[in-house]
Every structure is written in C-alpha cells, then in structure tokens.
Amino acid sequence: MTNFAPDTILSLYRTMVRIRLCEEKLARAYQAGKIVGACHTYVGQEAIAAGVCQSLRDDDAVFSTHRGHGHALAKGVTPRQLIAELFGRASGCSGGRGGSMHLFAPEVGLMGTSGIVGSSILQATGAGYSFQLLNTDRISVAFFGDGAVSNGAFHEGLNLAAIWDLPVLFVCEDNLYATEVPFDYATRNTNVAARAQGYGLTATSLDGNDAVEVCAVAGEMVKLCREGKGPALMVCHTYRTRPHAEGMRDGGYRTQEEIDAWKQRDPISRLRQTAVEAGTVTDNQFAAIDEEIAAEITDAEEFAESSPWPDPATATEHVYGSTT
C-alpha cells in the first residue's frame, strides 16, 4: 500500500466502483428485460481488472472472456458504451451487434470478450506475436477463468508463448467454480502458477481481492513482458458473489456461508478501509468518487436507453472487408 501514490489508490477505487455500479445496473436491467441473452457479472472480482489494467497502455491489447464487463471498463470502454451495447443499441461499443459476450473496442485495446472459453488465451498469444514481430514494446493480456485451465487452449497457448518468449501476460481468475463445477473437481492440480512454471513462464499466485496487491504484481509482470522477458502468468484467487449468470439460480453447489465469507473480503471496501486507516486517502475523497460514478452510471443508462436501435438494413454489413 505504502508503495502507491494516493492517485493510484483513487484510480483503482474509481475503476472498481465503476465496474460494481455498472454491474448492479446491468443486473437490474436484465431483470427488467432490457438485456437479453447471457449476462455474466464481475461483482466481487473487480480488483483484478482494475489492478491489471492500471499498468496497461491504450495500445496494449486485452482479450477477455464471457465475464468481461469489468475488463472492458478497466481498459477504457465507457459505461455509456457498455450499457448501450447490452441494451442492443447502435451506440454500444460493438454497435449493438455483440452484447455482453462480444464487446469490442480496439480503439482502447479491448480486443474482445468471448462466448467461447479458452480463445482469449490463444488470441492474446497471437497479439504477443504481432508485437514481437513489429518490434514494439506493446504487450497483450489474456484474462481467463479457472474453467479454461483444463482446456487445450491453455496448454497450447501457454506453451507457444513460452517457446517464443512472447510479451503476454496471462491472468487466471480462479473464482473456485466454472459455472457450478468446482475447480478441484476439474483437475487434481489447482496450483495454476506451478503449472505455468512447468511451461517455462514466470508465474505467481496472489489475493485477487486485494487491488493493491494485484496492481503491484501486475505492474512487475507488465514490466517484465514489456522488456521482452515474458511471458508471465498471475493467478488471482477470487470469488464471484452473484450467480454464474443473471437469471440463473445459485443453489446447490456452494453454501451461503462461503458466499458470506467472501463478501467480507469485498475488494472495494477493503481498499477503502485500508487506505483510510493508513492515512493515504481520506474517506471524503472516496465518497466523492462514489458520487461521481453514481452520476456517471445514471447518465450512462439514460444515454443507452435513449440511443437508437441499430438499423436492420445494416445487419448484413461487414461480414467481409475488402479484397483488392
């Protein structure tokens, strides 16, 4: 904590609150039928997107998952663009074509959320290939859940990144479950950092609900990758406190006690409390952010709701680019 300037703390906090309030807005909108299809929220995991993206530049590339609203916001997609996208409006970051699982904003380096588990790992590795070939110091980041670890994409992607020394940061968000399947059922070896080391990556595990720790570790790993010493992997231990997806029941596979215990480790209040106790930031400063973001999200929802629907006549555009 002491390592971070108040500005960084406030920035992490702002991002996390933005994600949280957006997600809560989206959850209500889903219940109200304003959002269709799949909607996986990031509530409880905000520290990871916030902490990792804090060290990234706009021209770094992030590849995300089905649970990608947080990554999108942390990378610079605005709440207006995000909510409008889930509302299916032309002003959404994918013009309403994508929805929750297909958020794209290449302008700020959000290279896509994905409805297919595992692909983010491979595409980020490919972006690393581009950046190495183009001789830049850009890096790419793959977010993925514990569920992707038992998928062949994990194996093939990590291996290729390792043998080619690609500037890729792999961020595994281990929230204990893939839908309702526990991670320790899906594999006999839940130590993802050790497994990554087995492929030749620099890797470490950390508390994914501690924004400061995430930010510190990510900062080092990003630096490593930027200096050509990648790839690297960080495992963030965390928990989603809402159901797997909006509209799904949440019973049977986990206990209320477990959920409550993790709620105690809420990344947002933790950051705030620690910083206030350490005297780095005042509570008023945090409260001001709460207010600022609440207004931002209200505005974003209004913006989304008043945005036009995409023109059906455009539905078949852009299947192909040009071939000269």
């Binding site: 959002i35 269709v36 299809g37 799949a38 299916g88 409006r89 032309a90 959404g92 994918s94 309403g96 074509r97 994508g98 929805g99 699982m101 297909h102 994905s114 409805g115 297919i116 588990v117 595992g118 569920g147 992707a148 038992s150 998928n151 062949g152 893939a178 839908t179 309702e180 399947v181 059922y185 899906a186 594999t187 049977g252 596979y253 629907w309 995409p310 023109d311 059906p312 006549a313 455009t314 539905a315 078949t316 299947v319």
Partner: protein, 327 residues
Amino acid sequence: MSPREISYTDAAREALAAAMERDPTIFILGEGIGERGGNFNTTVGLYERFGPMRLRDTPICERGFTGICTGAAMTGTRPVIDFMIVDFILDGVGELVNQMARIQYLTQGRLKMPVLIRGCFGIGSGYAAHHSGNYYSLFVNIPGFHVVLPTTPYDAKGLMATALRSDNPVIYLENKSLLNCRGPVPEEDYTIPFGEAVIRRLGSGLTVVAVGAMVPLTLSVCDDLASEGIEVELIDPRTLAPLDLSTILESLAKTGRLLVVDESFGPCGIGAEISARVMELAFNDLDAPVRRLNGEHTPTPYSPTLEAAVIPSAARIADAIRNLAAD
C-alpha cells in the same frame, strides 16, 4: 381421456431415462449434466437415479470428451455427449469427423460407433454470435453421421429412443425456441425411424419443407395463406441424414412447387441439397424453380432489431410462399 401433454425437453429426457434403465452401458458426459441436471434441464433427475459414473460432469474440454466418447464407443459402452449449446461442438470437429465418423468404415463394421451427440441450437433471444449456431449441414456433408432435428415433444421422445438404439453417431439437435413447447406424448416407449418425414399440413397448392423451428413458424402462417387461396403442404423432414426424399417428391408431384425454409445459412446448406436432389429426380414435376428461404449469411448479431433481420420471420415466410405460388 385426452393424452398426456409434456414439454419437448421432458419428452426427450423420458426416452433417455428409459434407455438408461434398459441399457447399463449408456453414460452421459457434459458440463453441468450431473447434479445440476443440465443447463437446459436435459438430465434433471437422472443423476439421482443413475449416479455419478453414468452422469459425469466434465471440465471445459470439448475436444477431449468428444475423443473420449469415441474411444468409449469402440469398447463396449454407449456414450451421450451433451454439448449444452451446440456451438461448443466446433472445438471437437476433428475428433468427430476424422475419428468418430470413420471408424466403422475402417474396421469394415467390426466396431460400432453408438454415440449420441446432443446440443441446443438456433438463433433467437439474443444468444448472439457464439451461442446461436446451426451446424447441421456440416454433418450432413460428412459421411457417417445421422442428423436429427425433432420439432415436437412426440418426435423428441421417439427420435431420441431410436438414436439410443443406433450403431451410428447421431447428432440430435434441439432448437432452443422449442424446448418448452408442450404436446401429447405417450407414456410408453416408442421409436420413430430415421428417414421418415411427416406431413404437418396437407395442401395442394405448394410444398414447403421446413427445418427445425421453421416448422411451427411456417405452420403459423398457413391458415392465413389458405384464406388467400394458397394451400400449403408442410413437410417436416425430422431427420436430415438420412433424408426422406420420397415424401417430398410425392408432395411435389401433387403441387409442382417447392420452398425450403431453413434459418441456417444458404450456401451449401440443406436447402441446396434438397433443391438439387429434387431437380435431379423430378425435374418434370417442377412448375417453378425450387426456392430457398434462409437466414442471412452473416454471424448472428445480438441486438433484437438486427437479430430479427437475419432470420426468416413469419412475414418473410408468407411472402416467400406467395411469391412461389405466383411464380
């Protein structure tokens, strides 16, 4: 006493449960098909009856469990792969096409390949690009698969029962929009042969072959069209491989006109195959060219306004029928 009505999903599950009761070599692999009962309730209650060895939750490794089921079928068991959403099948295409579909052939039939592959498909409800796929044409193209698309609870049960007696890999596809539809389903076990189409509506004006959810959608416009004087004969092929061409040809002999309605992609789709076959076999019966109405040739967009623009709607189906009638 009016017959019992149950849902499509319940009907399919009834056949599955009966088969599992009868045949102890049946087991099911998939994500969330154990205690959870399947994301689409495909296996609700079965875990309690048949236990964890026969309903096995998998990690997310579609290629892996497709390959595993291939090996299992080669060694005396009858696997069921529950893909949940059928788009996920694409990661297993190598195992399906290179291995599963070819081993009966390569062993001259000394090995059988009794695998049931099921998954929910179709465009609608904002499932968007990665969860709206329709890949049946691909499996019709490749030799070795049966491709089955039940459209009623009755057929869901009877075709499932047949699939679970077949020596062959069966791709059993459930349209998401039909899962909750209800209809009469006998309690006793029965089978429906593959390759037998059913005529959903008799008519002498023109013939429509509809696929999957397009069957009830087309049916919904037929009465209106009848009031305009267009009598549609509606055929539900029920299985695309094998395909019951005789029923289509008989109808065509009567009507002279044929439209294929399929929400999936047109190029090299099942409509193209039906069209080409019909021309080859019954050129002289055709009073007009066979027409196809397909979804647009694009990825599936999310927004309701865009999504509606890429699939055949009731209105577009009616128009296509009117145009063909006037052709």
